[in-house]
Amino acid sequence: MNRIIFGFLVSCFFFITACDKDNKKDEFDKAALLQNFADNIILPRYADFKTKIDSLESLFIAFQSNPTEAKFEDIKMHLKACYLSFQAVKTFDFGPAMNTGFKSTIGRFPSDTVQISSNINTGTYNLSTVTNAGAIGLSALDYLFFQTDAYLKLTTIASYNQYCLAIIQKMKTETDAVVSAWSTFKSTFIASTGNESTSMFSMLVNDFCQDWEEAKAAKLGIPLGKYSLGIQRPEYLEARYSGYSLEILEASLKNIAEIYSGIGTNGVDGIGFDDYLVALKKENLNSTIKTNFQAINNSFSQFNSTFETELTQNPTALENLFNTISEQVVFVKTDMTASFGILITYQDNDGD
């Protein structure tokens, strides 16, 4: 009897390991997903951001040599383009971006206006120090370019003018570093398809969820007072001085939705998380997530002034948006991540 059962077990095992019967229809390939991400999403998005920052620098240098009001208006408009382009790259906070601290250098907000003023007054600063972490990046420029007398200050105060250039050039250096590191990092990225917490696939999924969570909390929830007993805190708005906040939020959410579907900057819908879910027979979850993305995207049409104005005039609409975004977190962070079998632990785990 023992031998019969044993024989059964042995045959089971060899059946499992030796038999290589291909069944194409269920197959999914994470490497192909990562390839699509690298080629059509991450690298072109970085390239776009690099172009935006480069022209920001050249516009500003041109302005420095021969300042005019019109040129300054161009720069202010171009800052928005930089902001929106940045929303498309900040999600990928792993590999080169993580090593250089790219995300916080460019995108940290709100800015430390006291530190900025003190830097301008003293005229000597090292923008890489921790003290200056809140005195750099896009939000520092938002503060410096959108004060009522910004043009006057830029044209009369040399240190003010120089500080703006220093910030732009710091962003340019960081961006160049990340972009050039990606040329060698790309192959590492594509090959890292495991499900352990350190694999690039896991990092991508985690950062994707993290970015959504940040849009919910930092860009929307905190100004809305969700984390402060219902008291609104407009001083925590991203890009408060320019009033670009809502467009930035919209861009951020839209970029995340495109990442989900694997849509490249060329508009082609490549392999994304949606395809992985479908391969795992989770069509319902996929359509729920997509419907939510669509609904969130559509809800922006109801806003027609700045975030700060909407805060006072239309807080209910913002509340609703906050709730829809919160619901979506459950689907992407729990259902989707769990379906992929991604481990968040780096330690031993017996699955209980």
């Binding site: 023992n2 059962i5 077990l9 197959e27 007993l229 977190v329 379906s339 031993d348 699955g351 209980d352």
Partner: protein, 457 residues
Amino acid sequence: MIDTAKIRQFFNPFLTVSIAPLIVFRIIFGALMIIGTSRFILNGWVQKLYIEPTFFFPFLGFEWVKPLPGNWMFLPFILLFVSALFFMLGFFYRIASIVLFVSFTYIELLDKTNYLNHYYFVSLIAFLMLFLPANRYCSLDSRLNIVQKQYFVPKWNIGILKFQLGIVYVFAGIAKLNSDWLLDANPLKIWLQAHHHLPLVGKLLQQEWVAYAFSWTGCVYDLFIVFFLLNKFTRPFAYIFVIIFHLVTWYLFPIGVFPWVMIFSTLIFFSPNFHVRLLQIITKEKMQSFSEKMRLTFNKKIVSSALILFVAFQILVPFRYLAYDGDLFWHEQGFRFSWRVMLMHKEGYGRFFVVDSKTKREMELPQQQFLTPIQLDQMLTQPDMILQYAQILYKEYNGKTFYVAGLPLKINKPEIHAEIYVTLNGRPSQLFVRKGKNLVTIKNDLKNRTWLEEFKK
């Protein structure tokens, strides 16, 4: 014909048998503890799991077990390392085994975030080893005449270790007899497909039938492997199976040193002769392996009662879940300490809220303000940890002052609410904890967890 005399002999705990299997077990267990501890320290886990966290989740009834401040947390690990070394060498064995047991168990009791069934197993083995004369042969203690050399031990010395291993396997097998595992092949379906990038086997791992084959094989293996190990005819084949099975799990899942613990521990099922030969490599001494009558001094009654107590405890504890209503995987009342290994893929997402009891003003708390990512991950799906977390938040926010439109608002006795969604074994996420309940007033005890939302299969 059943030979009752033979059966009685088989179960007679006081029959004298060779000490060799116990000695080999001591050396193996000590060596694995050394490796395990070194690996833990070198991976930086002391820092990550015991120094970095601000808060801990102690076990019910062990809230008095507190971590040491800062880098002092390395101390129990150093003690563990040194005691494991002494333990392996059989040097001041009694003291070493006490230190090993206490330091290991102390570490495990600090934070249930890090609970693993295998850690519990190690604690139990270390506890049993306290009572066994594993230093009576091939040890520094016997060489230095600290203890007298001994060639034989009563059979229960070996038997209880076999029993403990048997419990782990058989209960792990019984735990797999559920519909998720057998009928849906979950969570293996989720875990295996994630490995589809592996060379050769990768493609196979995203086939559904493979997940079923793994699930059923694993279940049959766990249920019956011990019996094949006990039988001397099937033993060699069974052991090959043990090796293959644990190597596969080691390759596919992040379960650290435990496949090796099981592979080496199960050697205890081999005959005394096998162990004698192993020891001869070290001692170069010819050792008798056949039992002869020898005087063993101990109180048979006390030993018998203690054995019965231990065995009964081991058999009953995993079944305590039967005392609770609802789904075990959902409420987890009676889940731990029951050898429920690799059974669940449970992920949660939760939002916690501090509600001022007077003004009813509420605020959501930022994710990960107080807990490490691992703690957060574990807490969200384990009800008792959710209640402990609510207590932590209560202490943090009680008496805190916030400024509302420039005026101070002191929060007194806040309510802590949570909205938590959980997905279990591939099901769509469903509400786990409903917002609106003050978690601070719910007692963390052994009663039914009626405050959880009902589980929909």
